[in-house]
Amino acid sequence: MAGAIIENMSTKKLVIVGVILLIFQVLSFLVGGLIAPSPTTAIPYTATKCVDIRKYHQKWLMPGGRNPCEKIQDFKEATERHIEANDIVFAVHIPKPDLEMSSWFQFMLFVLQFEIVFKLANQIDEAGVVTIDASLAYRDDIVSEWTPMAHSKEQRKLNCVFPANKTKKNEGLPYDCDLLPFMEVGTVAHKYYLVNIRLPVNERKKINIGIGEIKDIGLVSIHQNGGFTKVWFAMKTFLTPSILIIMIWYWRRITLMTRPPVLLEKVIFALGLSMTFINIPVEWFSIGFNWTWMLLFGDIRQGIFYSMLLSFWIIFCGEHLMDQTERNKFSVYWKQVGPIVFGSFCLFIFDMCERGVQLTNPFYSIWASDVGTELAMAFIIVAGICACLYFLFLCFMVFQVFRNISGKKSSLPAMSKARRLHYEGLIFRFKFLMLVTLACAALTVIFFIISQVSEGHWHWGGHTVQVNSAFFTGIYGMWNLYVFAIMFLYAPSHKRYGDEQSNDLLHREDIQLTTTITHVDGPTEIYRMSGKEAQE
């Protein structure tokens, strides 16, 4: 009869393991906080207003460099020169002069902001929709021609409010406009990019009519910092073998046993697999290859891990509670795991609709159209309901487990001393693991809130601590250590294997105990115990 390592470890050893894990935990926070820069950088650009002179008919208009376009400072100048709206191209060169992009940036996304001034006679319509003719090109040295990458006509809804009274006095004050999603590219394989935006006017078709008086177009590019990418890759490269080794070790222990593995053991193994799947640093390939689907792939990997983790919690609780005739089958948990699968499926569909479509058209956004927004909201709300449902189930199960444990506790004084100590130890360790899980979840939430609220970096003495980076590496390291610890502590104990005929009092007591419920074949004592409880 095999027990898990957590049951057979002395408290001293458990503390040592805990301290080692804690050291690694602190390290993973420090790596992000002290070595890595902030995870992402946003660079605001103001689009240069170029005049598209028909006679030259340039395909790509550049704001600067060797062959700059004919610029105008403001539209007053354009009016004086009888330039029409259709001749104006907003051009943005990425990055700024003297710099170049790098594949370490992993992704680029762009946000569009219109600067529209209030004019009493020329206001933004109630449903001001702007039609954007956007194109993107790249090149890898400053002399070669631009290579087109994408071109699309997109519609975006201008959500603008005027912060003051709409009176003659407040003319010239700008509207407060929402940021509009513009473009997302899943890889940064080239050095220079050029965005050309046109806002074609067609009075007959009512295109770009009633969008107010545009003064400027701002574009904000967001990309991952190269330094963060490097630290992240290094971390992944270090974590992959660690989890892989403990996973192999764990599975070897299970196959060494005479009985086939039980559900909980399989689920823990699956958890390790999904952790390894997320760990494997396939992103290294993004440095050499132009793989635009990496962003989507990363989302899918994260999704698989999260749903695995949630399923693990449910099954972990359930396997300490269920009746022996029902448990040990995955199908028993359909009610609890169902919401997880359905919820992640919804998010998957949503992600495919957004990032999946962006593989072919980087300017696409599901939020741009009304139908798309409703669809996206529907997916997210359904996923949210699933999450709530799941947590209700989980809380109820945890409650049941604790009720069973306290029921057992009341019968403890009647037991022999060795047996009582044994049970007390078991309960303590079970609760300990529950606490660790709760602590991990709480830590994730707390750090998430801190990273949302804080400015991104703290100054501490002479050092700058990057809170956001520390959050990412720390939490990522934490869940890795969590999976590591579970695989280690829940692996079948070797000692138990050889010591079956031991004269040790505790073990004899235990054998007595196990012989009373020989048909129960669970991985842990507490599991057996609660199984017995459920029988009664």
């Binding site: 967001i222 957004e354 997210i380």
Partner: protein, 352 residues
């Protein structure tokens, strides 16, 4: 020498540098520029009104000077907008100095002009930086070095840092070179800084969520400059609540403290002034005051734009004028307006 003088010079010099506007009032300068024989550094030398140190900065940063010119224009426009209904309407004179002697004295108005000018320069340089016009502002110079490696590792600092730093070196150098001992220099430096603070303290923080499925797991924030009108509004408020100060020696350093010790001390963002302003009623060319004769006023208003106060009790003319106004217009987002002409008769009040 005074501050506004050099602004005007910058405006003129910009015509030299660019000459894109066909409506340039100084045609021959535009012609000169098309010859293209003026080397850039020479242009810096020709800018009258700049002090030697500024000429040096100009030579080293020729690409920035066009934005400085734009910033100056922005400041003048905003000043005239904010003061359009007051007796002193920030009018620029054809003769130098631009704003008249009002600004050469340490008045409230001078405080505003200095603040809005340094803000205007910072604003325009930041703008130019974000549109990729300036090569030098490309990446952070203070923290990570200018190298492309710095950009690759941790990105760039905000554009505003460069704009403000440039405004500090270029605008403040006038006062610093005089030696910051004089009370006027102290006042100007304080107001210059207050102008820049009006931008810095009103930066909007904007954020974008882009985690898994667009969740806020990953959120990136950046700072966006307020519209210049907002900066103007803030400074106008500071103008209304400006503190009258005097110079005092504390220890070995000279500082400005409120004249009335009962007032709470001014902060970095407040405007300060040394001399009280004239009433701006009568035409006084010697002091650069245009007077309010001939200004339009509002008959129904009791405020400063009302005829009572605006005309300093001298009374006003009323005449009926037919104005041709644009009405039922069709607009495009840029450059195209098709209107009908509507004529209407309005009463116009003009100060005597």
């Amino acid at each position: 020498s005074n501050h506004s003088y050099f602004l005007q010079k910058i405006c003129l010099s910009a015509l030299l540098l660019t000459a894109t506007s066909t409506s340039s009032p100084v045609r021959y300068l535009a012609k000169l520029s098309s010859v293209g024989s003026i080397s850039e550094e020479e242009t810096c030398e020709k800018l009258k009104g700049l002090i030697q140190r500024q000429v040096q900065i100009c030579k080293r940063n020729v690409e920035v000077m066009d934005s400085v010119r734009r910033g100056a224009q922005l400041a003048i426009d905003e000043c005239q907008y904010q003061f359009r209904n007051r007796r002193w309407n920030c009018s620029t004179l054809d003769t130098l100095p631009v704003f008249g002697k009002v600004v050469t004295q340490g008045t409230r108005e001078a405080a505003f002009v200095y603040a809005i000018s340094s803000a205007g320069v910072a604003f325009a340089v930041t703008r130019a930086c974000s549109s990729g016009e300036l090569e030098k502002c490309g990446c952070d110079r203070s923290v990570h070095g200018v190298s492309p490696e710095g950009f690759q590792w941790s990105g760039c600092s905000d554009n505003i840092a460069y704009g403000v730093a440039f405004s500090q070196t270029f605008v403040d150098v006038r006062e610093r070179s005089k030696g910051s001992s004089s009370s006027r220099a102290l006042m100007n430096l304080h107001n210059n800084e207050a102008g820049r603070k009006a931008i810095l303290n009103n930066m909007r923080v904007e954020c974008k969520c882009h985690g898994v499925s667009g969740s806020c797991e990953v959120k990136t924030c950046w700072k966006a400059m307020p519209p210049f009108r907002k900066v103007g509004n803030v400074l106008k408020e500071k103008f209304d609540g400006a503190t009258e100060v005097e110079q005092r020696k504390i220890g070995s350093t000279k500082v400005l403290v409120p004249k009335n010790s009962q007032f709470k001390p001014h902060t970095d963002e407040d405007l300060v002034y040394l001399d009280s302003s004239p009433d701006f009623c009568e035409h006084d060319m010697k002091n650069g005051v245009l007077g309010t004769t001939g200004r339009h006023c509002n008959k129904t208003s009791k405020a400063i734009d009302g005829c009572e106060l605006m005309c300093c009790g001298r009374g006003f003319h009323t005449e009926e004028v037919e104005v041709v106004d644009r009405c039922s217009c069709k607009f495009h987002w840029c450059c195209y307006v098709k209107c009908k002409q509507c004529r209407k008769v309005v009463e116009m009040h003009t100060c005597r």
